[in-house]
């Protein structure tokens, strides 16, 4: 339990699940909680420490998730995820992944995605579920039953409203606005409008001193794609100049577009290696220019290098004899910014076929190792080995015939067995497992890679069932 101190008053500021079960509530006097529960562990609140931790988290999210991230009150982070979720497979995988990542660091978080900042704020705090996604346009339905305390109003107004008998957002929004404004000021109406999306509430993205950012404001709003492209080009030049003085290169650049109607949009461009190449960066940013909706016009463009890494200019060795090695990273960047998965395959030390190929980053060092096997390998592997019916002489002859996907094939030739032992250090169930792989060829010349689970003699090594694992070319 965390105890906050204001003057001589000590109140409960935060509790964990066990304390909640025992009856402690946020906001109750600490002495009362101590009287209720014996053996309570009290920790003094550290407002500044919390704030700086949340700020660090927000900066991490800024680099990882979306260009527009800001701190939300004392205990939250708000992100504009529009156009950023597809890179992580959609809204649900993104939010679940985020909550899981935080839990991996020992942080309990609740996440909500909704149409407006206000509603996402309220839903995340008022419900007990870890991950909630409100479909587009259903905000009003989702927030009706939420308590008025989730409206981001000052506590005096909340208690004043409670005295009048208001409990939920729905009740409050159904009440005529004029008397409320007369009594509590315009804040109530503003927060309600923000929650229901009637008033836009731009998220002012978090920035730190070391973040390199260049901004250009326009005296007249701009809107045409060519004009935007022209100014992106100018901003990139400024950004590269700023980075050059620090000997850094861009890994991730965010363009934030401020429209005249007080909303913002963002574009993000990522690169595989640090870059400071003006045409390349301009091209990356301009490639998604059609995603910007200028509306009534754009009044300000801001370009920030969210993620930077040391970048050194290298003297290229000019040689007429040697073949020039082409750097493919510009291509990888433009493919990657369209959300394509890129990888190279590299050997992994394992004898189990499905485990001996691993994906590595396309820009990782070329190590040059190779698979040690001299046995021919099939060029296509099935994602999951498929059951086949075979007639075979045990223990160590290739099948005489096999039935796969309903088609019976007579086997003319076969090679094997190649014995693969299970890896007990990966899975305990593979302690004694054995697979005997055979390559077989049917009458038409189709070649397959099949295996029998087990050595054909000892039932502890496998079930003696046959599987087809790969297709030879």
């Amino acid at each position: 339990m965390v105890v906050a101190r204001s003057g001589s008053k000590r109140t409960v500021a935060a509790i964990d699940a066990a304390a909640f079960k025992a009856g402690a509530r946020i906001g109750m006097p600490a002495a009362k909680a101590q009287a209720m529960i014996s053996g309570l562990h009290l920790v003094d609140a550290d407002r500044q420490g919390d704030a700086s931790a949340i700020e660090r988290l927000a900066l991490w999210m800024l680099r990882q998730y979306t260009p527009v991230v800001a701190m939300d009150g004392r205990d939250g982070i708000v992100m504009d995820t529009e156009g950023a979720d597809h890179l992580r497979g959609g809204e649900l995988p993104m939010l679940t992944g985020l909550v899981n990542a935080l839990r991996g660091h020992g942080l309990q978080a609740r996440g909500a995605i909704a149409d407006t900042w206000g509603s996402a704020h309220a839903i995340a705090r008022a419900t007990r579920r870890e991950v909630i996604i409100v479909p587009v346009g259903e905000t009003a339905k989702a927030v009706v039953n939420l308590p008025i305390s989730s409206l981001r109003l000052p506590s005096e107004i909340v208690s004043g409203l409670a005295v009048l008998g208001f409990r939920t957002v729905g009740e409050l929004s159904a009440t005529p606005r004029a008397p409320l404004t007369l009594r509590f000021g315009p804040e109530v109406g503003r927060r309600l409008d923000q929650m229901f999306g009637r008033v836009v509430e731009p998220i002012d993205p978090i920035r730190t001193a070391e973040l390199v950012e260049v901004v250009r404001s326009f005296s007249e709003p701009i809107g045409a794609a060519e004009t935007i492209a022209k100014y992106i080009g100018k901003l990139v030049v400024e950004l590269c100049a700023a980075l050059e003085t620090r000997a850094q290169g861009v890994r991730r650049a965010d363009l934030i577009v401020y429209r005249v109607d007080n909303t913002l949009q963002s574009l993000r461009a990522g690169t595989a290696k640090p870059v400071r190449d003006i045409p390349h960066l301009t091209k990356l940013l301009c490639s998604s220019i059609e995603k910007i909706d200028p509306g009534f016009g754009i009044e300000k463009l801001s370009l920030a290098a969210t993620m930077i890494e040391p970048f050194e200019e290298k003297q290229s060795i000019s040689s007429l004899v040697e073949e020039t090695i082409v750097d493919v990273t510009p291509l990888l960047d433009s493919l990657g910014n369209r959300g394509q998965r890129m990888y190279r395959l590299a050997p992994v030390e394992s004898d189990v076929p499905e485990r001996n190929v691993g994906r590595v980053s396309p820009v990782s060092a070329k190590l040059g190792q190779a698979w040690p096997t001299r046995w021919p390998r099939p060029s296509r592997m099935l994602a999951h080995p498929e059951r086949i019916q075979v007639i075979a002489l045990t223990p160590d002859h290739p099948p005489a015939s096999m039935t796969w996907r309903g088609k019976r094939r007579r086997i003319k030739r076969g090679d094997g067995p190649e014995r693969v032992f299970g890896e007990w250090w990966v899975r305990s169930s593979e302690m004694e497992a054995v697979r005997d792989y055979y390559s077989v060829e049917d009458e038409d010349g189709n070649r397959f890679w099949v295996y029998r689970s087990g050595d054909g003699v000892d039932p502890t090594t496998g079930t003696a069932k046959w599987f087809l694992h790969g297709i030879y070319g």
Partner: protein, 251 residues
């Protein structure tokens, strides 16, 4: 045609046509198989670089694309530089490609969720110009798309190979539709080379050159790629087409 070669007007016209057709027919810019019989059938003596080629599997391989993939791997193994391999179904087994001479360090896989994205990636890879080859596994290849790809390949000089692979065997009839590809191959598996002992010998394929721009169709029985990506002419084919066919039936 020896008569036209003598006629200066016609040879001049042929030159002009060649210039109109673009850089695809530039001399020396070909990737030869190193087998005289096959190279002789291809205009320029090999597969033109800076052009789009189409390869599909025959029979069951139209769906699996196993032999076709190895044939393609053998071709791109003999280029220089990185290779971009665009696909939607990640079921290639890299050790097999390495055995066909295509080292895994050279191949960058680009996996997309949608078929259209594969086409876009393919074109972007071809336009980039710094790659050794670009391979894309495609179900559909419409005429317009293939024309764009061919132009992109011509502009950059990168060899582009569309590895056609269908979801169902019946869809493979799509391979009859015209595209702008310079050559079109169909690779079917044949029984492997017989060994004096029980076992499977070197794999053999029937490589049908279905279409070649400014060339003739042909078919070859070849031995699968060796460790440097080179195919060999199967000894049976030397006796002529008819016998080759028969040997396929009883082998």
């Amino acid at each position: 045609m020896p008569i036209t070669a003598a006629n200066p007007v016609i040879s001049e016209l042929q030159d002009r046509i060649r210039r109109l057709e673009g850089g695809a027919a530039r001399k020396g810019e070909v990737l030869s198989f190193g087998i005289a019989e096959i190279d002789a059938k291809l205009p320029g003596g090999g597969l033109a670089r800076g052009a789009l080629h189409e390869v599909a599997g025959g029979g069951a391989d139209a769906v699996h694309g196993a032999a076709a993939a190895l044939f393609v791997a053998g071709i791109v193994a003999r280029t220089k530089g990185d290779v971009l391999w665009c696909l939607t179904r990640p079921d290639l087994f890299a050790p097999a490609l390495a055995q066909a001479g295509l080292h895994h360090d050279r191949v960058i896989y680009v996996e997309a969720d949608r078929e259209e994205d594969v086409l876009t990636n393919f074109e972007e890879g071809l336009r980039f110009g710094g790659l050794g080859a670009v391979v894309a596994e495609l179900v559909r290849l419409p005429m317009t798309a293939s024309r764009r790809l061919q132009l992109a390949a011509e502009a950059s000089g990168t060899i582009g190979i569309a590895l056609r692979r269908w979801r169902r065997p019946t869809e493979a009839a799509d391979f009859g539709q015209p595209t702008a590809a310079t050559t079109r191959w169909r690779i079917s598996v044949l029984p492997s080379e017989p060994l004096p002992v029980p076992g499977i010998g070197r794999a053999r394929w029937l490589a049908e050159l279905i279409r070649a721009r400014a060339g003739e169709a042909a078919e070859f029985e070849i031995g699968a790629c060796d460790a440097t990506g080179r195919i060999s002419l199967s000894p049976h084919a030397r006796d002529g087409q008819d016998q080759a066919r028969r040997s396929r039936n009883f082998a």
